[in-house]
Symmetry: none
Subunit: 284 residues, 2 copies
DNA sequence: ACATCATATGTAGTAAATTTACAACTTATC
DNA sequence: GATAAGTTGTAAATTTACTACATATGATGT
């Protein structure tokens, strides 16, 4: 992967002249990536083809390709890693760790989403007569956020925190309605019951939950996200954020499906807010 | 620094053909670094010199130098760029774009947080007798989420969506209380009024809002996050998620400050949920 | 020690890629 | 509608990288 390491490791496999090249590159790699093969050959005191052969020995296609690999190795990149916060971490450390862990989790989540399912979910949502969003605990705020987004679309949207209201609302659902249930674990009993009630009334049940969970089994369509568990703090963190992004994606798909005029309508909704705000200058 | 970011930002300075090149590169940067200038020109439907001019406009010496920069950006761990969703994007494209834009925004947000302010905020929160979280619109769900987190800490927490309840709640605040107000723009009139009421009652007002906004001016302490605006969809997206991460950070700081025994308490809270859930096997 | 083979290195020529110079074409402005 | 500023493309020049071949070096076996 890292070509600089590879050079040091492969050292014994190089020929005498190739080793000269290796030395020069290791000594000042920054210069190397900005040199032509001729310059580098002269610096190393060898011929151009030798440099080329050196590159090939490192499994690159040739000199330009080698430079690309070298440049990438030099890019001081620390990819995001899931690092747990520890007891003695100061504010700078835990802030950094939380940001990075979240981003690492999102990267994993990103790769786990199934586009076809998303597309089908958007289909169902656009055709729905009424959309309900329910979640409990940490997922309640996700449902809340979904309400906020879909409410702007001028579609009947329902959101309740109260499980009795949720149940009653599902009792009134019909074939044309979509019920979106949000739960990271998918093991919250009352939410599973709600899924059953909704399906009993022929509503389409969409689960934003983990694959194979009890809730998933009750759903017509499951949007699953694979998010590395953040068990350390006993609080859901990354999972919730991945769910929100999924909501964003669904909302975006929804608006795109509705076309241009619809988006102008969205702008109007936003403009309506103007009266409740101070204008941009900051004057009242 | 990151050349992909640079491309998106300089977009307006490009000419028509140069923009074509930009699009192709942003669409598949991995392919771009392995293409010759001729191939890339053909892919973009422009001439070779245009590609060259495109590179120069980005302050690189030429095409090979540009490729080097591009390779470094891609290796940098963050190939994330703020790209706007477009009308004809399919589900695969907008999903990708939303994930990447969000992550690009988080990267920017991460660099904009001020550790000292966070530390002071955690101080204030740990010392508070009562903590209130208020937000409106999209920020309501963030406040909701904060409630969920801090509620577990066995501290008196307050959260209302209703602005009258918010006002009344603030009327009852005292010197020992902290009121956290969440608003991306910081220009929501009623939230600014609430800040004034809270301060009138000697409460500590903490704003999660943008720097220099009307709301910020009314706060005792401002946690500002710089998040690239995502105006295309007329919906707040990245800002909200950055706010949530900030809540995570504050909550984490809070638990760390409280020490070990406290965290055992958190575990107990979580264990309490067990009764409401199906166990891990998935059996009822 | 010498012949033979294999490997390593360099030279020169070739092919490819990049850049430059200039001409044709758009687009904005008066 | 003429002129100027800016864009884009064509073709030639230049730089860069690669290939084929020749020479050199070194190892191995007789």
């Amino acid at each position: 992967m890292n070509i600089l390491e590879k050079i040091t490791q492969h050292n014994s496999l190089f020929s005498k002249s190739e080793r000269k090249v290796a030395e020069i590159i290791l000594a000042n790699p920054q210069t190397a990536i900005h040199s032509s093969i001729a310059t580098l050959a002269k610096m190393s005191g060898v011929s151009e083809p030798t440099v080329n052969r050196f590159c090939r020995r490192l499994d690159t296609k040739g000199y330009p390709d080698f430079k690309l690999h070298l440049a990438q190795s030099l890019a001081n990149g620390t990819p995001y890693v899931n690092r747990h916060v520890e007891e003695n971490d100061g504010p700078d450390e835990y802030t950094k760790k939380i940001f990075e862990s979240t981003m690492a989790s999102l990267e994993v989540a990103r790769q786990s989403v199934d586009i076809n399912t998303i597309n089908r979910a958007v289909d169902l949502l656009t055709q729905a007569q009424k959309i309900s969003f329910f979640g409990l605990g940490a997922s309640a705020s996700v449902a809340h956020d979904a309400l906020n987004k879909f409410f702007r679309f001028n579609v009947p949207v329902v959101y309740f925190e109260d499980i009795l209201m949720q149940r009653m609302s599902c009792m009134n659902c019909g074939e044309e309605d979509v019920v979106v249930l949000i739960s990271h674990t998918g093991r919250t009993k009352s939410l599973v019951e709600i899924a059953q009630i909704a399906r009993g009334n022929d509503a389409t049940v969409m689960g934003i939950t983990s694959k194979g969970s009890p809730l998933a089994k009750e759903c017509n369509i499951v949007l699953s996200l694979e998010v590395p568990e953040d068990t350390d703090m006993y609080m859901p963190m990354a999972s919730r954020i991945a769910q929100l992004i999924l909501i964003d994606i669904l909302a975006t798909g929804f608006t795109l499906r509705r076309g241009n005029k619809f988006r102008e309508n969205l702008k109007r909704v936003k403009d309506t807010l103007r009266g409740s705000r101070f204008d941009k200058r900051g004057a009242p």
